[in-house]
């Protein structure tokens, strides 16, 4: 029975092993891609089978509940979608394809474990598993001796190590003050400690730094633009989506330790959220490289998600989950388009999108749906998500946060619109020989799936929200 609860993780480990052994030979990329999709879907089914169950493993350090299973569902779906969205791995050197899949699988495994970890050291372990795999995967890019991927990799490692250090340091404070590393026991101690012990607040914030780093929240966001720019398009689509989902669940778990009331911790997080939105959006205004632009946009979105975390109510938590799912979909839509438009694996500028409407109507439409969703325009999931987030924050009386968030949403529309304008309104005539972009049937299907998901979940958020609400009851 307990094995059954651990089955999704086991399947991912199996997948990692498969990738590892195939790396000894020279397998075809299609086969690898297929097996990644297959195994992540199997893991998905395994998660679904255990969806309503609860249980603890490994001496209470690992908990299976609907919340963790919901995140595992999202993560496994995300992995399958990412593998689906990047057929052929053009940007990765051919001989490294098995390793590439190995590392993103291991990273996903770390995130999946993160969503179940309810003990500080387990959390740290899971966090590091997911980070280390990515440290290795980032420099995989063609041409192999380019400089920017190494710069990106070093930045990711250094910031990651610093963030982990801060996180451990914070844990030491928390442990020192409370004498336990189990979240279940901490949840009774922390609220009292935060109001009486200033050190607990510092400890909590330091502890959260590790997840701010994953989520790219200010002030741990500095790596984002360079890493997005330096990593291959495929890798970026992974970095930009799944680790953020993992960060969201831990932020939910850790911040909810402090209770629902507005405390100093909420204030600190609120300031970080606002700084993150503002810096992200203002920096994105002047970007020309689309990946850098999306990187800054992700910094801003980290701020939006924090609103739900800070609100701390059931609706707020559910909104954060809902928005994280939406964020996965809309970012994936954008990166899916970038991967397919960038046939020579370069980073794309806004100019490279010119006339995309004529070159590939489907890709242009997917991009428009993703970008409008990021901008928060109805009827997309981005709008509904922002609406629920802002409503939850408003209910808690965080008026300042809501107003500043809305102003930020207004600012951000400008650069999102720039992307759509480039794709739809400029002709490619003056851009020389950018030809048609041809797509395989499976990619076309994926494009449609993403668009439909973005719009359908935006118009009918009922199901997802109620599942999320049921799940956060287990916090």
């Amino acid at each position: 029975m307990e094995t059954m609860l651990f089955l999704p993780e086991l399947l991912l480990i199996l997948l990692a092993l498969v990738c590892f052994f195939t790396s000894l030979g020279t397998p075809r990329t299609g086969v690898l891609q297929g097996s990644v999709i297959l195994f992540s879907i199997l893991a998905l089914f395994a998660t679904m089978a255990t969806f309503q169950q609860t249980g603890t493993l490994f001496y209470g350090a690992y908990r299976i509940d609907p919340l963790s299973q919901l995140f595992k569902l999202v993560l496994c779906t995300g992995l399958a979608l990412i593998a689906w969205a990047n057929p052929g791995l053009r940007g990765i050197e051919k001989r490294l394809h098995p390793e590439y899949y190995l590392f993103i699988t291991v990273s996903t495994l770390g995130l999946v474990m993160l969503s179940s970890a309810v003990e500080l050291l387990t959390i740290f372990l899971a966090l590091e598993i997911s980070s280390y795999a990515l440290f290795v995967a980032i420099p995989f890019r063609q041409p192999f001796h380019g400089r920017q991927q190494y710069e990106a990799s070093i930045k990711y490692v250094l910031f990651g190590a610093a963030a982990s250090g801060l996180s451990l340091f914070g844990m030491s404070y928390i442990f020192g003050l409370s004498g336990t590393t189990y979240l279940a026991e901490l949840s009774t101690l922390i609220p009292g400690m935060i109001s009486s012990e200033p050190l607990a607040l510092a400890g909590m914030i330091l502890l959260l730094c590790g997840f701010f780093y994953k989520l790219a929240l200010f002030p741990m966001h500095f790596w984002t633009p360079d890493v997005y720019q330096g990593a291959a398009n495929e890798t970026t689509s992974f970095i930009a989506t799944l680790p953020k989902i993992g960060a969201v669940i831990l932020l939910l778990r850790l911040v909810s330790l402090a209770g629902v009331d507005i405390t100093e911790l909420s204030w600190a997080l609120g300031i970080l959220a606002i700084a993150s939105m503002t810096i992200g959006n203002l920096s994105a205004l002047v970007q020309n490289d689309i990946k850098r632009l999306l990187a800054y946009s992700s910094v801003a979105h980290a701020g939006y998600i924090m609103l739900g975390v800070i609100a701390g109510t059931t609706l707020g938590h559910a909104a954060a989950i809902y928005y994280a799912v939406g964020y996965l979909l809309m970012n994936l839509a954008c990166f899916f388009v970038l991967y397919h438009v960038s046939t020579d694996n370069r980073n794309l500028n806004l100019d490279d999108l010119k006339g995309l409407y004529r070159r590939s109507p489907l890709l242009a439409f997917v991009l428009a749906a993703g970008v409008f969703s990021l901008a928060g325009i109805p009827p997309t999931i981005g709008f509904t998500g922002k609406f629920v987030l802002f409503t939850s924050a408003f209910q808690q009386g965080l008026y300042g946060l809501v107003v500043l968030g809305l102003i930020n949403a207004a600012i951000s529309i400008f650069f999102y619109l720039k992307i759509v304008r480039a794709a739809y309104l400029t002709s490619s005539d003056d851009n020389g020989g950018t030809g048609q972009v041809s797509l395989h049937l499976s990619s076309k299907v994926l494009g449609l799936v993403l668009v439909i998901a973005i719009i359908l979940l935006g118009v009918l958020p009922q199901q997802l929200l109620s599942v999320a609400k049921a799940a956060v009851a287990f916090l």
């Binding site: 609706l315 409008f372 325009i377 109805p378 009827p379 709008f383 609406f387 629920v388 802002f390 409503t391 939850s392 408003f394 209910q395 809501v402 107003v403 809305l406 102003i407 949403a409 207004a410 529309i413 400008f414 619109l417 304008r421 739809y424 309104l425 009918l460 958020p461 009922q462 929200l465 109620s466 609400k469």
Partner: protein, 551 residues
């Protein structure tokens, strides 16, 4: 009571409130849903047609069908009640308390009819104007129709907002794809202004929801809120609507958007979209925040006056005909907001009627400019001179609509501007006097336009000097049957409303009375402390200033 945000599913189906506000649709078909779905389905089906001709015919067919389908709203409308009529209610998102609930009352019904009847004209005036991407154009045009009707009929704040935002992208595309040389600048400016405004409107919607736990507009109107809350709600909503109207100093997007938009885009903007601002004031600001309205009234009256005078003054200096009409729109819409914020019966009725009239007259003027632009490829007054001899029919219509535009007696605008001025003089004579200046400016710039386009000397400079113009100077064709039809249709309304506006006034009568009651009772309920505070503040001083300066 419900706690805020608890999301009780649809509180208003449970008895009392239903009878109080709503009259369910008595027709044997869901008329408003039909109006919303016809253009939308038409848009999707229209994608199947290949040729431009088929697209145009299909678009015309769909819009005419929608217009005909909307007729029962006029004939079956119960003029004796202020309740919402033809109401349909379906649950959509019970957790959020979001329902699909639509209906019309005396304030919105005329605007819905205006929308459905202007849209066929938009198709007609695009007949030869739009030369590329016809399929997409028709799609966008029909989607925009659904969104605009949706805004007028929504009885749910979030639904209202969804439709409000849904107009944004299609209109942006119309300007950005089919627009003139500076379309990039104009479309971005339009988008940013409107989006920034609507963001604060969204904040107000959230605030109202958190305060009351409801999105249902009639229920929100019933609540009484604290003065501070009202003031914030009022400012949030007013910003969005003032951008849309547009009110000075937020009007700068309008001339840019008008000049660059294709004819159909200009007509939609002028005839319908600007009305959404006025409608928003009537639907949200006045009934939901009566004390705040009272408090901010002098400021808004002052801004309206500035809009009237600045709009007129700027129009006087334009050489581009389209820009001239755009600035005149600012002035005319100033009359609308002036009428609304005079907060009395004549003022609001005048404002409502002015919205309809501006839709008819300015829409027609933009169609006329589109017609001349297709022939001379210029909108400069200096190029389009002395058309009287070449295009007598064109000049006839231009004359009619110009006269109507500056409110010549016997035309439609006269009635509405007269009502607004009457309201102004009866309340604050100085306001009336300043508004008269605007009316005189309107006459000045329209007559200047007429003089130069119709009669200007053809012997001196002008197009005879210019080789390019001389080439086709005498080849300008007068209006064809399609254009005559379009314009004659609007002419009927110019004179109908000009001579016999009673049917329209009857339709809005009860609703306007109830609106004024709502404001009155809101002021009473709000407690006299706040009211006195508001009146003793700057508001009173400004109002007092107007009184003492009485000539």
């Amino acid at each position: 009571m419900r706690r805020p945000g608890q999301g009780m599913p649809c509180p208003y189906t449970q008895g009392t409130i239903v009878e109080q506000y709503l009259i369910y649709n008595q027709l044997n078909y869901p008329i408003i849903s039909v109006l919303l779905l016809l253009p939308l389905i038409g848009a999707v089906v229209g994608l199947l047609f290949k040729s431009d001709k088929a697209q145009l015919l299909w678009g015309l067919g769909v819009t005419v069908a929608t217009a005909l389908a909307s007729l029962p709203l006029y004939t079956q409308f119960d003029r004796s009640t202020a309740q919402y009529q033809f109401v349909e209610l379906r649950h959509w998102l019970p957790t959020l308390g979001l329902d699909y609930v639509v209906g019309v009352d005396g304030i919105s019904v005329l605007l819905v009819l205006l929308t459905t009847f202007v849209m066929p004209l938009c198709v007609l005036c695009s007949w030869s104007y739009i030369k590329e991407r016809m399929r997409e154009f028709m799609f966008v045009l029909l989607v925009i129709e659904t969104a605009m009707i949706g805004v007028f009929v929504s009885l749910n704040t979030l639904l209202f907002f969804l439709f409000w935002e849904a107009m944004l992208i299609p209109m942006y595309l119309i300007i950005a794809i089919w627009g003139g040389p500076r379309k990039d600048y104009a479309s971005i400016k339009y988008f940013l202004y409107t989006f920034a405004g609507s963001i604060f409107f969204l904040a107000s919607i959230i605030a109202l929801y958190v305060q009351t736990g409801s999105f249902f507009i009639p229920e929100l109107m019933e609540h009484s809120y604290s003065f501070t809350f009202q003031a914030w709600i009022f400012l949030g909503c007013a910003l969005a609507f003032a951008v849309k109207v547009p009110m000075f100093p937020l009007h700068t997007w309008l001339p840019a958007a008008h000049v660059e938009a294709p004819t159909a885009g200009s007509v939609i903007l002028a005839s319908i979209m600007l009305k959404l601002g006025g409608y928003g004031f009537l639907r949200f600001c006045l009934p939901m925040a009566p004390e705040a309205t009272w408090y901010f009234m002098p400021w808004l009256i002052a801004l309206s006056l500035v809009s009237i005078i600045v709009g007129g003054y700027l129009a006087l200096g334009q050489s581009d005909v389209k820009k001239l009409i755009a600035y005149s729109s600012v002035g005319h819409m100033g009359f609308v907001t002036l009428g609304i914020f005079l907060l009395n019966d004549q003022g609001i009725k005048g404002a409502m009627l002015q919205m309809i009239n501006h839709g008819i007259t300015t829409g027609a003027l933009f169609i006329l400019i589109g017609i001349i632009y297709e022939r001379t490829h210029s909108r400069e007054m200096s190029v389009n001179r002395a058309l009287g001899s070449m295009m007598p029919l064109f000049v006839l219509f231009l004359g009619i609509f110009s006269l109507s535009s500056f409110g010549f007696p016997g035309t439609n605008s006269f009635v509405s501007e007269f009502l607004v001025l009457l309201a102004a003089f009866s309340k604050y004579p100085l306001v009336g006097a300043l508004a008269i200046v605007g009316a005189i400016l309107a006459a000045a710039y329209m007559l200047r336009l007429l003089q130069s386009m119709v009669w200007a000397d053809s012997d001196g400079h002008g197009h005879h000097d210019d080789a390019h113009d001389a080439g086709h100077g005498h080849l300008l064709k007068d209006l064809n049957a399609r254009e005559i039809g379009t314009l004659s249709f609007l002419t009927i309304f110019v004179f109908w409303i000009g001579f016999y506006p009673t049917p329209l006034l009857e339709m809005m009568d009860v609703s306007v009375t109830q609106l004024i009651d709502q404001i009155g009772s809101g002021l009473d309920q709000g407690g006299h402390d706040n009211l006195h505070h508001a009146l003793n503040g700057w508001g009173d001083k400004i109002a007092g200033l107007f009184m003492t300066l009485k000539p």
